[in-house]
Amino acid sequence: MSDFEPKIVAFACNWCAYAAADLAGTSRMSYPPNVELIRVMCSGMVDPIYVLRAFEMGFDGVLIAGCHPGDCHYISGNLKAEERVQALQRLLHTLGLEDGRLRLEWCSTAEGEKFATTVTEFVAKLKELGPSPFRIREEAVA
């Protein structure tokens, strides 16, 4: 399993986490290339269906990154995201996905370093967990 490289999709809020990821870039920080970002206007815009589809498509981890509580550009979108993520985590657990594959992080515009660290840690965690069971199942079928 040592050469396993997890695939992560990150839904990043335009106002904070997406900007933090940009800041990580302008500050020339470094993190593994296993993550790809999708820009959303708010973490509260992330429909559970996006997360489910991502796992179905073979992603090993999904990151949702929004503004710190109290900082949401739309007042409470991030809190709505938090509620949904909790519900989703229960659902994913039932579906047989290990805890920790869906991750919610608060990340302000200024926290480029936090974004880079989050991705680095998440990649390490997913390497521990190994490929998503959904992916293994599909590969077995194929």
Partner: protein, 656 residues
């Protein structure tokens, strides 16, 4: 051409000089893009944002009949607008454009060329798939109120208000204290010229207070802000002062007879004021205020001393807070700063002769409690040995704040110089870590003070400060000569850092803007949009955004005025087209969207249909997507962030 099926997508990969090309291979990415579905042309070029790069896209749109465009380059936060305009110029709807961020989120954060190139390909693939589903959208106009609200009557707020008012537009200025001027009114001389601050500032104060285009609300607070760019509604609380401002002649008889004394806020505790008071002798507007927290009348003891003596019957204990509503087009937030509270730095004991820099300004000021004579607070003696300590709590993440407070090096040099002018036989010491003097005339000023020989600069820290009889003992070290230092001082002045004023957080919440981790107001972009907040129509001025001295504050305030004028002088504002829309055929009229929306955009009504359905007020909608996710039937979509578009991105990134 934007109808079903037929798509002709152009893909443009930017080298950004070597910024992208040193890690990502743009040629390979372009070759790969050519293999993707519906891609008609893929090119790579040194700088896509250059005139030549832009023309390349423009010509392709016209000549090849492209109906979708993808640019893979820097962050969309940088150049999305640039390329949208390119599309528009070529006759293509700007929302048929998508950007892949292969610089900030790829080439700059990854070093492995192969992996970075593969990731860039995936990002381009996702952008191509997404743009396939994008629809043309039209931006909307809304009228703008031709006036502005300025929050804060310090030097920043006053300058912004004056610039706007002088341009012929009305300003509503809200100041929470009883008079204008803010901290700037407390200063003594200003560096580097030693001009008297209160003279400089009071001319501005007079100009603001008498300006016909300025509606002044002192002793008032912004209670609530609603609406959006160009159309804000602001509820303002006028706090009860218990004195009729029209009648009060500031004769001060009331203050003379008032039996209650409390520490004066304006004098920073170095003097007392009465419960009925004016903060200082040149306060504008000139009227007294009853401090209901201190006044005995409100504690039920029925003291009427002031009322009895007032020759104009101006005092009215029955006054209540009043509320007014103003409709404004733009908002400038300038709530100002305070110094880091002394208590936060535990190594300095609570002692009347250990004061902060702002308190020493009052001692130096001709209008201060000692009328410009330098006397120490404990016993009124003229201090003969005075120690200034810089960076007390600044550049110090362990005890205070990690940032540099920017003004202390300059004001300490100024204070030491003025002290030596007033007390020629005295000795001044300055403990410093670094001298930062990076503005016009600053370095020359500090060097002048250091070289003049009248002030001894010691490079190093202080380990202990404690009371020893009549003296304050300061133990420190001079790291340049490697020597321990002990000074028996009469007065110690601490250069504490500027921090946001208490209450700034609350204002941030009311305005729906952002603050950084220290509580300073956050700009929309630290380099490119330093004057704007992230909320359209709200601008940031002065030291509430970052430690600033007077010229920097005034420059930032004038910049916000220019921004506000740009908005309010046009008469209308273009709103984002990316809002929610409802497909009535799926809508059950359940009302969840109405419940979840923070901005009251969705409404359930019959709309002429047989059953009630949701409709969206597009002016109120901010396009956050909360309603779309909560909709049980998927009847609501956010334009430009549709399920189809985002799922296309997910699938494309997965490589499917």
């Amino acid at each position: 051409m934007n109808g079903n099926g037929y798509r002709k997508i152009g893909v443009y990969i930017c080298h950004c000089g070597m910024n992208i090309a040193s890690t990502v291979d743009p040629k390979k990415v372009a070759e790969y893009a050519m293999t993707l579905d519906s891609v008609a042309i893929a090119r790579h070029y040194m700088f896509m944002c250059s005139d030549i790069g832009q023309e390349l896209i423009e010509n392709d749109i016209k000549e090849l009949g492209l109906n979708r465009v993808v640019v893979a380059s820097c962050s969309p936060r940088m150049h999305e607008l640039t390329f949208r305009k390119v599309c528009e110029r070529a006759g293509l709807n700007p929302y048929l454009f998508e950007m892949a961020n292969i610089r900030e989120q790829c080439s700059w954060v990854h070093s492995d060329s192969k992996l970075a190139t593969e990731k860039a390909m995936a990002l381009v693939r996702a952008a191509v798939r997404r743009v396939f589903f994008q629809e043309p959208l039209e931006a909307r106009d809304t009228p703008v109120n031709p006036n502005a609200l300025v929050i804060g009557g310090g030097i920043a707020g006053m300058q912004a208000a004056l610039d706007i008012a002088n341009a012929g537009y009305e300003v509503v200025l809200v100041e929470r204290d009883t008079s204008l001027g803010g901290h700037a009114m407390q200063l003594s001389g200003t560096f580097p010229t030693l001009d008297r601050a209160d003279c400089l500032i009071s001319s501005k104060v007079e100009e603001v207070a008498s300006h016909p285009m300025v509606k002044l609300h002192t002793y008032s607070e912004v209670e609530e802000v609603s609406g959006y760019v160009g159309n804000f509604t602001v509820k303002i609380r006028n706090k009860a002062s218990f004195v009729d401002g029209q009648r009060c002649t500031v004769c001060m008889l009331c203050s003379d007879v008032c039996p209650v004394s409390v520490p004066s806020e304006f004098e920073l505790g170095l003097a007392q004021r009465k419960a009925i008071y004016a903060p200082h002798s040149s306060a504008v507007p000139a009227r007294l205020t009853v401090d209901s927290q201190a006044c005995q009348h409100f504690e039920g003891d029925q003291c009427h001393a002031c009322q009895e003596v007032c020759p104009t019957q101006a005092i009215d204990f029955s006054q209540k807070d009043t509320f007014i509503e103003e409709k404004v087009g733009a908002i400038i937030a300038a709530p100002g700063y305070d110094l880091l509270p002394r208590e936060r730095i535990s190594m300095y004991p609570d002692d009347p002769d250990i004061i902060d820099g702002l308190q020493f300004e009052r001692i130096l000021s001709y209008s201060g409690p000692t009328l410009g004579e330098i006397r120490r607070p404990s016993d009124g003696k003229v201090p003969k040995q005075i120690v200034f300590i810089q960076c007390v709590g600044s550049c110090d993440p362990e005890h205070g704040v990690p940032y540099c407070s920017r003004v202390c090096c300059m004001y300490v040099a100024k204070q030491a110089l003025i002290y030596r002018q007033v007390v020629p036989e005295g000795q001044a010491y300055v403990f410093y870590t670094d001298i930062r003097s990076d503005a016009k005339g600053f370095e020359e000023f500090v060097q002048g003070v250091m070289a003049g020989g009248s002030v001894l600069y010691l490079r190093g820290g202080v380990s202990k400060v404690f009371r020893d009889g009549d003296k304050i003992k300061v133990w420190g070290v001079d790291t340049l000569v490697g020597q321990e230092i002990e000074i028996s001082a009469d007065l110690v002045v601490l250069a504490l850092p500027m921090v946001p004023r208490p209450g700034t957080n609350e204002l941030v919440r009311k305005l729906n803007i952002m603050s950084d981790k220290y509580g300073f107001l956050s700009e929309a972009h630290i380099k490119l949009r330093p004057v704007e907040s992230l909320t359209a129509g709200i601008y940031l001025a002065g030291a509430a955004q970052w430690p600033r001295d007077l010229p920097d504050t005034i420059a930032s305030a004038s910049a916000t005025a220019a921004k506000a004028l740009t908005l309010i002088s046009k008469g209308k504002v273009v709103l984002e087209a990316t809002v929610a829309s409802v497909d009535e055929s799926y809508c059950l009229g359940c009302g969840r969207c109405e419940e979840i929306c923070e901005f009251h955009a969705p409404k359930i009504s019959k709309n002429g249909l047989p059953l009630p359905t949701a409709s969206i007020n597009e002016v109120l909608c901010k396009g956050c997507g909360a309603c779309a996710v909560s909709c049980p039937t998927g009847a609501i979509t956010i334009k430009h962030f549709t399920r189809e578009e985002i799922l296309a991105e997910v699938e494309a990134l997965a490589g499917v």
